[in-house]
Amino acid sequence: MSDIQSALRETAKKLLTEGTVTCVIGWGETRFPDKTTPIFVKTPEDAEKLVWNAHCVCGLAKYMLDNRCPEGKLAICVRGCDSRAVNRIVEDKQYKREDLYLIGLPCEGKDAPICATCTHRNPVVYDVLLGGPVPEIEVSQEDRFQAVTALEGLTPAEQYDYWQKQFSKCIHCYACRNACPACNCTECYADQYRVGWQGKQIDKAENQVYGLTRAFHVGDRCIECGECERVCPMGLPIMSQTRKILKDINDLWGNYECGLTDSRPHILGEFDLSDRDDFM
């Protein structure tokens, strides 16, 4: 791993020295030995701060939309999930692919629960790949949707109770939204208090509105990076919602995974004459 870490530092240094990019987004050390944090590297000297180890868990792609990024081309370190997140953001037209330089890092899995059901450990898009590809792990549809299937086994009343209990924990910190690469809107609906979509108060109705609205906003675009669930301070099973939508899409239209390319039809938001309509 340290080989790749030195290669990463070398690459970053070269990109910054040659002026190919103005900033490299990667992971850096924190005061905790088992935690890393996203860092914005803007000088060749700072390239030494980049690390690559089992604790590099934070999704980085979303940081390209952060206003700490300087103007000009950005480099981002991408594992499999980060590369799909980049595709997500590019496909949603929030960044141009040509304004990004992707440093691909094949990933053997990190300290995050989501990594157990990761279907793309090798970056699906990159400009340079550091280290050889790693073997992909076998993830069955059953494994992928295991949490959803368990909930589908409950009666509607039990499901309602379950979600009421879960939603009641939410404190509207919006961390799930901030971490999510599919939540890339300039001005989130939840922040538009004057329109009245989302109330600030923490109660049954408002918590439910937030949970369900966000799930529907990202459901058919979710790249299954697990960031939402990882960052939630209250431990809400957020991915069970988005994966329910993904599971339904898979059941209806066959295998469907997001973020594998940066241009595919938007499955629930587009209409084509050849679409299935046997349910009508």
């Binding site: 300039t186 609906y189 979509w197 209409f271």
Partner: protein
Amino acid sequence: MSRIGVVVCHCGTNIAGVVDVERVAAEAAKLPNVVFAVTNKYTCSEPGQATMKAAIEEHQLDRLVICSCSPRMHEATFRRMLKDTRINPYMLEIANLREQCAWVHTDKEKATEKAIDLMRMAVAKVEQNKPLFTSTIPIHKKCLIIGGGIAGIQAALDVADAGYQVTIVEREPSIGGHMVMLDKTFPTLDCSACISTPKMVDVGQHPNITLMTSSEVVNVGGYVGSFEVTIKQKARYVDHTKCTGCGLCETKCPTKVPSEFNQGYNKRTAIYKPFAQAVPAKPVIDPDSCKMLKEGKCGVCAKVCPLGCIDFKDTAKEYTETYGAIIVATGYDLIPWQDLYGEYGGGRYADVITGLQFERLVNASGPTEGHILRPSDGTEPKDVVIIKCVGSRDPHKGKSYCSRACCMYSAKHAHQILEKLPGANVYIFYMDVRTPGKGYEEFYDRTRADGAVYIRGRVSKIYKENGKLVCKGEDTLLGKPVSVQADMVVLATAMVPAVGVEKLTTMLGIATDPDKWVQEAHPKLRPVETQTGGIFLAGTCQGPKDIPDTVAQASAAAVKVCGLFSKDEMETSPMISGVDQQKCCGCGFCVNCCPYKAISLVEIDAREGARRVKKTVASVNSGLCQGCGCCTAACRTGAIDLSGYTNAQILKEVDALCL
């Protein structure tokens, strides 16, 4: 502070019979900002409107809620009424207490509660209303007609006679469509070519009509009043500006291929006119069969042409033009029965033919000069079976609908056989005989008197035995199996939309029904309009029908176009979408879901913190937007909003209902 007036209509007893209208008005009076609330016997009537106008002045109202029938019924009436009051016509909301309440409920107490809810929602919404203003768009008085069958021809002549410019786009080398292929037309049995070719000639010579044959529409932009249409004309290899139609080339061309017009029963040359009376009466070269174009040798036509019209280097050309209105008249094709009905031989038996093939065999200018002869051996058939509803009314194999013309043309065919072949026998297998038209039932009666034998039932199988085609089926009236030995079988095959019509309807942004027939805006009240302003329909592109109905629709569509062209500009609805560029993130989701292609992404200058940046945002074309609201549902951030149905208005309605 707004000043809202609420008027609750009795609609005679239509509403008042089920809803306690006085209670609804009393509840309205209690709501904040409602300064006037009454009931009225007939709000839409002259006195009803006068009362409202007086109240608006007297109470200085600035918004109005009318609890009455569906807005589809009288919204326009009430808006017109408000035009000469102090209230903007769009400061009006209608609560539908009739169709959505009184007519669908019987429990007076519950219906009244629901009516109060509907009224409260309308009051909550009207609080948010803003004055809206119509604008106008210019109208280019030029009409495009797509398809040159009898529908397109009739519509073109009507619009052109009214003094407007017309272009007909026909994909075949000649106009005429299916009607010129027919021999005689029911029920009067006049010769189809004799009544349609004069009209074709009129089209060809009309000073207001431009004819574009061998052409198709390849792109449509714009909106009612100014559609930008690109038409592609295929290479014809003959310069029609010079050609006089002498036909010398056709006589000398050595290449012979089956004639489409004669259903393959005889040959045409590679340089050809589809039929003698074709309009334009000038040949084209078929590049798929011409030796010169395929193999680089021959060129006989070029040598014999006295005017040097042949140009083997001719290429397709594109023309772009602005039209104020479009009439779709693309007609029908026949269902590919061979693929669906293996039990009828699936096309293996030469003497099992379609009605359209029969029309050519019985036609005096057809391949047999009007003698009914079997395609297989050229002999006269003695026993002929006609099978109706092949592909029609057969949801399992074909289509569930009735093709409408087959009952009558099958009777016509029976009559023609019995007349031309004395001693012949005709057996008609049918499910029902449908003759709803002037003189149709009489025609059917006459055919039976002529000796046609009608057998009620479907044929389940046709097979060959001893040189005969054995048709096995069931006579459902006798409840017995029947078997008829025939020399020839004529299938009345279902009409289906013209091949490739989906491409055109997608381009035009108009809807089709599940069978791909073009969808009319309203089956009864707007039968020749589509949902898209300025696009009309005529003839069988909308559904199977016979010539009288086709022509009637064509003239109706022409009147609609002339009505549109009688004005220089038209008012547009202000209830369209607009984009808040601040909120819009340029994701383009709305672009993909707009059924009218009204939205595009544009780049603007914006400020982000201290930076000046180029930003991509959505932008709505106000001429194209029809106010359907799809985009507002697709936009996650609520950046796109529909005037008259804003997110804020709808949220207030929901609050009024739920809180």
